[in-house]
Amino acid sequence: MATEASHYYVPNPSLYPFILSVGLLLMAAGFIFNINHYAVGLWMLLLGFLCVLYVLFGWFGSIIDESESGKYKAWEDRSFRIGMIVFISSEVAFFAAFFGALFYMRNISVPELASFDPNFTMYKDFLGTWPTAGPGGMVLGMEYKPPQFTPMAAWGIPALNTLILLSSGATVTWAHWGLLKDNRRQLVIGLFLTIALGILFLGLQAYEYHHAYTEMGLTLGTGAYGATFFMLTGFHGFHVTLGTIMLIVILLRSMKGHFRPDHHFAFEGVAWYWHFVDVVWLLLFVLVYWL
């Protein structure tokens, strides 16, 4: 490290972080006004989103320029790598909160609601078997009609989606091998396949959601099961969407001839992110769909 000491790249002053913060403030306030039925909210949300979009292009654009003009050497590269690992760790903690909620409801609050002394509970017919929409809608002295919904079966589309995401992990690794061998063709084809699989996955998820809402009676409001199902798969789907967008950027850059076998952190960072999304899906498949 000593020899590189005077060369650590400290970027010039930049207005992007400030604009991004203003954009997020507008989006947050706009969203709040919107859900509380103030008309101005939508416009603030839109304006904020434009700010964020502008910054995404500008900020990442300048990072790409700096990278391609050789400002990042091994030392800077190491910073990005450690930073990306820490960032993905924080994402793990975010998903852990929702998995924790699933665990708590399945193993603690739902069984407890079913375990009360029948003489002292309004939920006396509630059995607490998973999946459940909870004991709500029960009225004292009337016959209990549990909310009707069909839980999501594991071995249809979800199993297919598992296969799709696992193969996309393989194709992105294959693309990486291509990059390491400086084989552009393999790199581009591998990335293209990965993106195609990602979009296919998202399409199937969208179909599944549509099916759940229109035919299975399964919605965000379907008690403990509906809340955990849609929040977990929803945030996962959101991350797949982000990952797919990032992969598309990497594909375009690869086609423009960016990256070298010994210098391609952006590719690897996105690949790590993609694998992380993959692992979260495996957990989802086992804990949400299957068990």
């Binding site: 000593a2 050789g70 930073g83 965000l220 403990a224 929040m231």
Partner: protein, 531 residues
């Protein structure tokens, strides 16, 4: 490539001036200064809210405000003091000091660093905006649930909760970005020869803090997201009718909330040894023991959260587990106390303002720690839970343990940062007024709690009147004496006062004292070699 690098070097010192300097800066000292100034401003804002609360509590009966407004004040006071004063102050010191202490040219990710700061003012706006909106008939004011957002109250309340949820999101992003930056800087930017076990304790304290933030802030983000969907999108996370449970929120919140205490304290534990050793003119005692204690406390803090909810009805084995694990934190903490005292043992001590704050801090934080041990006892907690005893306890840990630690650090490094000496006379006056008024404010609250006064109430039984009056008088002295602090800082920044030497404290150790006071805009462009 080389030409690009040269072109870059040529442009390197071209910096915008005026307001644009602060909006666009990528310099760790500029960003650190913004964090610290922001923290100081929000400290005064949060303090003003506390004074309004104490004014209402001066006498029994309702005098100054409606109870709903009282509830809004206590919640926003806490959120501001924790998220907008203490945490930014700690991050400001990290930005200023860590690169100087480890011999780095700057923080590792400078633009991200700037973003981390500029998320804070928007968050502060979101927190306080509902007060103003209410004046125009929009909503009914800020969040009134207390800082803990407990469901189902927070599910049923008005627009203030939505604003607080998104404020927490922005603060969370800011903390995660700050933590990423600090972790990367410590791992990747150390000067040659600066091994991990030579790292200054302040950097160690912050490294563990950053790990805790990465592990817990996203969980808080998840919890308030569930709250948002429960409020507006029909989920049942915290609603028994759907199989959820309000207590789930408490578990998620305190999984973040307990480590948060150490997030606020670890940076202070980091710089107290620097101060003690400087004014005792002795090296820090038990460096390794302190590092291991930091680790032990950091890890333990993640698995003890339910001591905050002993009274909600948990199975006895769970109560016992959380009681014993909580109490076991006092073992590594006792190691730290031993090391702090042993550092001073037989030292050639002198008591300049930073040392006064550091030694006073040991005693007052000690009281906070010991009363925490009382609250960790399941049986005793049944009486003290949600009483003023708790309020007194956490002000001993967070005002004395947190804020007074920050003050010690401020006086210690202010000459380095500004190049000017503060007024020692006023500094000492500030210390004595703060220490005495602090005890006057919060000592009576222990007894109020023992006597049964619940927290978070705007009115109380007549029997509590005397102690509340004493507490309110103390609070106003405490609040006003902070103006001395502000005056001292402002006059240093404005270049009044004596010029500070490069090493104003005879016994101080560390790379930051090898630089001029104030240090050059770009320090350590050539890294020093640590032997």
């Amino acid at each position: 490539m080389t030409t690009a690098a040269q072109a870059h070097e040529a442009h390197h010192d071209h910096h915008p001036t005026g307001i644009m300097r602060w909006l666009t800066t990528t310099n760790h000292k500029d960003i650190g200064t913004m964090y610290l100034v922001f923290a100081l401003i929000m400290f005064m804002v949060g303090g003003a809210m506390a004074l309004a609360v104490r004014a209402e509590l001066f006498q029994p009966g309702m005098q100054l405000m409606r109870p709903e407004f009282f509830n809004q004040l206590i919640g926003v006071h806490a959120l501001i003091m924790i998220f907008a004063a203490l945490m930014p102050a700690a991050t400001g010191f990290a930005n200023w000091l860590i690169p100087l202490q480890i011999g780095a040219p700057d923080m590792a990710l400078p633009r991200l660093n700037n973003w981390g700061f500029w998320l804070l003012p928007p968050a502060a706006i979101l927190l306080t905006l509902p007060f103003i909106l209410a004046l125009f008939g929009i909503g009914d004011g800020a969040i009134a649930t207390g800082w803990t957002f407990y469901a189902p109250l927070s599910v049923q309340e008005g627009i203030g909760v939505d604003f607080a949820i998104f404020a927490v999101h922005l603060l969370g992003i800011s903390s995660v970005m700050g933590s990423i930056n600090i972790i990367v800087t410590i791992f990747n930017m150390r000067a040659p020869g600066m091994t991990m076990m030579k790292l200054p304790l302040f950097a160690w304290g912050w490294l563990i803090t950053a790990f805790l933030l990465i592990a817990t802030i996203p969980v808080l983000a998840g919890a308030v997201t569930m709250l948002l969907t429960d409020r507006h999108f029909g989920t049942h996370f915290f609603n028994a009718a759907g199989g959820g449970d309000p207590i789930l929120f408490q578990h998620l919140f305190w999984f973040f909330g307990h480590p948060e205490v150490y997030i606020l304290l670890l940076p202070v534990w980091g710089f107290i040894p620097h101060i003690l050793s400087a004014f005792s003119r002795k090296p820090t005692y038990g460096y390794k023991a302190q590092v291991y204690s930091f680790w032990a406390i950091g890890i333990l803090s993640l698995v003890v959260w339910a001591h905050h909810v002993f009274t909600v009805g948990m199975p006895v084995p769970a109560l016992l587990y959380f009681m014993y694990s909580t109490m076991s934190i006092s073992l590594p903490l006792a190691v730290l106390f031993f090391c702090w005292i042993a550092t001073m043992w037989r030292g050639a001590m002198s008591f300049e303002t930073p040392m006064l704050f550091a030694t006073g801090w040991i005693i007052l934080f000690g009281i906070g720690g010991l009363t925490g041990l009382v609250l960790a006892d399941v049986a005793a907690d049944a009486q003290y839970h949600h009483s003023y005893f708790v309020v007194a306890h956490f002000h001993y840990t967070l005002f004395a343990g947190g804020m007074m630690g920050m003050m010690a650090g401020t006086y210690f490094w202010l000459p380095k940062m500004t190049g000017r000496m503060y007024s020692e006379k006023l500094g000492k006056l500030h210390f004595w007024l703060t220490a005495i008024a602090f005890n006057l404010t919060f000592m009576p609250q222990f007894f109020l709690g023992l006597a049964g006064m619940p927290r978070r109430i705007p009115d109380y039984a007549l029997q509590f009147a005397e102690f509340n009056m004493i507490s309110s008088i103390g609070a106003f002295i405490l609040g006003l004496s902070q103006l001395i602090f502000v005056y001292n800082i402002v006059s240093c920044i404005r270049g009044q006062g004596e010029k500070a030497a490069d090493k104003p404290w005879e016994g101080a150790e560390g790379l930051e004292w090898t630089l001029s006071s104030p240090p050059p805009y770009h320090s350590f462009t050539v890294q020093p070699v640590v032997k």
